[in-house]
Structures are given as C-alpha cells and as structure tokens.
Symmetry: C2
Subunit: 263 residues, 2 copies
C-alpha cells in the first residue's frame, strides 16, 4: 500500500490486541497528524517481551478499525512480529513514527523488559524509526484515557518534529490522574524494581496440576530521578530506552579476570 508521500506515515501497534480500548484511544488522539496504519495482534499479547515467531506460521488479515482513513491489519503474531510485518510486508515506505499502546498497565521500571508494547517500540528503533511506547498506569478495561490522549498527541507531535535520539525509543508512562491533577512530564531513568513471583497451584478436571504465575512488584530505588518516582509524584515519565545492552562499565572488571581456557 502506498500512502501519501507528503503526509507523515504513522505505524500503530500494541500488545493488548487490536480491539483494546487503549489502541483505539491512541489512534483517535493522533488523528489528523498523518496517514495511520494499524498492525496489531488479534488477541492479548501482554508479557511477550521481544518474542518473535520463527518456529510457527503467521497469519494476517485486514481489519475494519471503524475510523475513516485508518488502514488496519491483525495478526496472530507478537507485537515485534507486527512491526516486522508492517515494515517488510505491508508498507511501501518506512513509517515516520511508530507509536505503541496505549498499554493497559504500567511499563515503568524493570517492566520495560517484559513488555510487548515496549518491545515493539524497541524494534521500531532498531529499524531507524522514531518510536514511542505509551502506557497508562491503570489495568481497568474501562480506564479513563483523557489524560493519556493529551500526552500521546503532545509527544507524537514532538517526535514527528524532532525524531528520537539515535539508537533509542521512548518509554512513556502516564499516571492514573485527571488531566488537571497532572504536574507535567519528566525525563527519567529506568527505576530499579523487583518482582517477587508466586505460582498458584490448581488441579485440572482430570486431576493434573497446573500453575498460574502472579507477582508482587517492589520499588527498590530511592532515587528521585526514576520513572517510578515521577509517576508517584504526579508526573508523566519519559525514559529514553536503548537496545545496546552492553554494560560498558563492567568491561574493565571482566578484563581483570583470568580468562585462560582450561585444557
């Protein structure tokens, strides 16, 4: 497909699935900023991280998003698959911006690493596309997206104007607040946090044991420059996220090890 070359091309995806309220609110809030193409999972893909489908088949079909001028496709793939399908199969040119979300639930702190929403944005960055993941700190299906809509439009316009810093995408988390209670936006670092998990044991009708994973998150970071701090203090957090995972500071320490290969 060949959108107008004069208007920005905006690729939209998410991990909650193409029918989630979050992605609808995202698309509505960027309406008019460019040609919008949605490529999103046909079902819930939360917690998929940077998973890709290489050992199984992918399906894809058009989807009626119900909004004039919005082209939409759904797939059985992960959020990262959606980005790859969009770039290498669906679109005739590279999008000017990729926006992912609005996720139902926070992707602040270490959650960035498990998040399908953010992995789609990281994949966009890998392709050289200015990319942003948006998440609202409210898991409710009927969450109030008024504040999120303002933030999404503000940041998408800025990213269309400035791009994103080289090798990065943005992780934007929005507190569960009315627009008038928000103090502003803050550029933050990823806070340190920890999930303590537990596995609830149940018996299937046939008697076989299975487990549900649940977790408790603890913020273990005392800093006032973290995303978690910003969200607790009525700010939207904006963390630049990079895909170079090298711990440069650790290279010196490792070079002091005796790494001779044993016979």
């Amino acid at each position: 497909m060949s959108p107008s070359a004069t208007r920005p091309l905006i690729l939209v995806t998410n991990d909650d699935g193409i029918t989630a309220p979050g992605i609808r609110n995202l698309v509505e809030s960027i309406s008019g900023l460019g040609d919008i193409v949605v490529v999103a999972p046909d079902s819930h893909q939360s917690g998929m991280g940077h998973a890709i489908t290489i050992s199984n088949i992918l399906r894809m079909s058009t989807h009626d998003f119900g909004m004039t001028g919005v082209k939409a496709f759904k797939t059985n793939g992960t959020p990262v698959d959606c980005v790859k399908l969009a770039i290498y199969k669906i679109l005739e040119r590279k999008p000017d911006v990729l926006v992912s979300g609005i996720n139902h639930g926070s992707n602040a702190s270490i959650n960035v690493i498990y998040s399908g929403t953010m992995s789609a944005a990281v994949e966009g960055a890998l392709e050289g596309i200015p990319s942003v993941g948006f998440s609202l700190c409210d898991f409710a299906e009927d969450a109030d997206f008024r504040t999120s809509r303002k933030i999404v439009r503000t940041i998408t316009k800025q990213v269309l104007e400035h791009g994103t810093p080289k090798g990065t995408c943005l992780n934007v988390n929005i507190p569960k607040l009315n627009p008038e209670d928000l103090l502003g936006l803050k550029i933050c670092r990823q806070g340190a946090g920890h999930w303590s998990d537990s596995f609830e044991e149940r018996q299937a009708p046939g008697g076989k044991t299975y487990y549900w994973m649940t977790g408790n998150y603890t913020d273990v970071d005392k800093g006032e420059d973290t995303d978690e701090w910003a969200l607790r203090n009525r700010y939207v957090s904006v963390v630049p996220v990079q895909y170079d995972m090298t711990a440069y500071h650790a290279m010196t320490e490792l070079n002091e090890w005796n790494l001779n290969i044993e016979d």
Copy 2:
C-alpha cells in the same frame, strides 16, 4: 528440594528445550562443580525474548535427565518462566550461578534482544544470581560441542569464583572452531547489526494464506571491539549485558524538547 549447603547450587536452563544436545553438553561440561538443577522448556522456545506466561497456565513435571545427581524439571513455559519457576517454586535457596544454553546458534550482536537463552540469563541477573548465557555459532543439531564444553567449564568456574559485575549477566558466544584453532576469549561490546526480514507466503490446504518469517543478518559495525569481530577473528566473545535499558546520554537532548502538554 534442599541441595547441600556446602556445595554450589547451579541452575541450568535453555531455550532449545530440555532434550537439545546443547543443554546436555552444558550439564556434562559443568559436572562436578556443584549440585545441578535443570529447569527447561519441554519444547523449542527460540526467539521468545523476555516473554513470560501471564495469560495462560503453566505445567511442570520432573524429567529424567539420565545423569546421576542431576535433578531436572520440564515446563511448557518460556525460558524466563523456567527461571521464575526454579527460584519461586522449585529451589529452597537461591542458586549460586545460573547457566543458560548452550544455544544452537549465535546470540551475538542485536540477537541478544530476541534470545530466550539470554533472556533467562538477564532474569537471573535481575534476581541477583551471577548468570551466563552460552551460544555456539552453529545451528546444526549434531554440532561439535568440544570447544564449547571447555569454554563453559572455564567461565562457569570463573563466575563461581568472582560472581558477575553488579546489574549484569554475561553473553558468551563461541565460534564454530576446533579447540586448537581458537585464539582465546575477548571482552566485547554488543555489535551493531540489522535483520532484513521477509515473509514467505504460502497457502494452507484449505486455501488460506499464511506466512513464514525469515531474515538476513547484516553486520553494520566496523568496530574491532564488538562480539561479531571477535567471533570472525577466532575469539570467544564475552559481552556484559545489563537490564538497565536507560539511554543516559539521550536524557539531555530530550530535556531540550518543549514538552508542555497541549490543551
């Protein structure tokens, strides 16, 4: 289960599944270094990235690994699920080291981000466990693991002695070479590379279209300090990988944007 408190406790996982030759070679090569517990997927989980199973059930059962003193469990979960199950359900104390692999195929460069093998190691690091992912640059089912076995034993012993630098795990990639052709080990940064994907279109017997994703990798990094350079030049690459994805260098640039929220 309660292993000996006087011997190191070693947690082993992978993403190729509990019956893969890679994990067997890994376990054999660390034999005698401690009490070994294997918790691994019951089938192939390559490309799963940092996916976790939160919208579906997990199953887990014991598995006869066929080696004296090795306890083993298989699950339908992802590599990261395996680490969580081990820590929060199976083991009575925190492992002294986590080793993941030996992956059938490279996880150098940007592949770290898609890799289930490496995501398991990152999850271990998040839990404060010195963790290493090992990958052999050979996809063959009957790959020659002689070189890998020496490397795995060497590095596992070093990590049992030193731990790993705070907030990191190690991404170890091993070139497809005979032991005598290897020049040594190099501490490296993650090289920059790019996957160009394509989607092969096929028709199911009923006529419905489906796709297989395939990709071509290009090394776009001219540096001689990257993992890809090391592997091409007969070295084992060792990259310290961190889970703090903040692009600190980009925070200043972002603070110069006009991030006022629109009405």
